[in-house]
């Protein structure tokens, strides 16, 4: 199924409590070599037709304005997958 994949991460300088909790758990299970964990989001937009360049452009706008909040998150990638 054709889809557009939007990947969003919390901003680098922001505390990511989810990632920190997972990192602590990994450290407890012996993986102290993992220095940090950060957790983001992957959002898939599915289409029943071929994805056009315009779809991708619009998805980038949606990603910046609605799917993410630029105060706390960065859009890492908006990609097309056939």
């Amino acid at each position: 199924m054709p889809k557009i994949i939007v990947e969003i991460m919390p901003k680098q300088d922001l505390l990511d409590p989810q990632g920190k909790a997972v990192a602590n758990s990994l450290h407890r299970s012996g993986r102290e070599d993992i220095s940090a964990v950060r957790i983001g989001k992957r959002i898939e937009l599915h289409f029943d037709r071929e994805i056009t360049d315009k779809d991708l452009e619009e998805a980038k706008t949606q990603a910046a304005n609605f799917l993410s909040n630029d105060v706390i998150e960065d859009v890492v990638a908006v990609t097309k997958e056939d």
Binding site: L15, P17, F66, L67, V71, I72
Partner: protein, 231 residues
């Protein structure tokens, strides 16, 4: 004096907000998220809860609702708007107030009576308070950590837009102890704690005088009634 209260799917405190408006002497008007008709109200409250299940981000989907779009438009013309808790999150997601709200620093949901200092008593919703007045109202949130860029924080401090600060300890890691904000015009106010839960003796926070006698929240609603009369 008609004050609208918007109900979104997942809103919790709309009835409490309506009751607070009634106790302050106003007429509450229930508004529906999917309806862009705000019924000519004189002010609007965005109440607390978990609109749209807090999906995507708290307040993000509610910020796109037809009723919210109309609130954004009318706020630009000076309509008084109060966002409480999830309502505050909706206001920042709507860009009516700057910054963002993230999970509490210590991960836990916090539910307690919270002391605040009124930093700005020149807004539509705080004009009945004294400057630097200390008030006590309930706080209950999981994602109440206020953040903003250094530049935004400097602007908020310089322009006196921080309306409330947490006292006696910061419950959620909010930068600069910010509990609530206003816009430059002073018609939009958002805060994490819940004034509508401290409006009637017998049902508010405990005070030194008597159990559950705290009614510091009432002045929010009296302020806006005062403001609308003077406008």
């Amino acid at each position: 004096m008609k004050i609208g209260v918007i109900t979104y799917p997942g809103t919790l405190d709309d009835r409490d907000a309506q009751r607070a408006i009634r106790l302050a002497g106003g007429t509450p008007v229930p508004l529906w998220h999917a309806d862009d008709d705000l019924k000519k109200v004189d002010a609007v409250v965005l109440p607390g809860g978990f609109s749209y299940g807090d999906y995507l981000r708290c307040g993000a989907i509610a910020a796109q609702a037809p009723a919210t779009k109309e609130v954004i438009r009318l706020a630009g013309q000076g309509l008084p708007v109060l966002g409480i808790c999830n309502g505050f999150q909706i206001l920042v997601e709507s860009h009516l107030l700057p910054g963002g709200l993230i999970r509490n620093e210590k991960q836990h949901f916090v539910c307690k009576d919270q002391k605040l200092r009124v930093e700005n008593n020149e807004t539509a919703w705080t004009n009945m308070f004294e400057k630097d007045e200390e008030i006590l109202i309930p706080l209950k949130n999981g994602e109440g950590g206020y953040i903003a860029s250094d530049e935004t924080l400097k602007m908020l401090e310089a322009e006196n837009l921080i309306t409330f600060r947490y006292l006696d300890g910061n419950p959620n890691g909010s930068l600069n102890d910010i509990a609530g904000l206003t816009n430059k015009r002073g018609n939009v106010v958002g805060l994490m704690p819940h004034p509508e839960h401290a409006v009637e003796p017998g049902f508010g926070p405990d005070t030194k005088t008597a159990m559950r006698s705290g009614i510091d929240g009432l002045k929010f609603f009296q302020s806006v009634l005062q403001q609308v009369v003077n406008a």
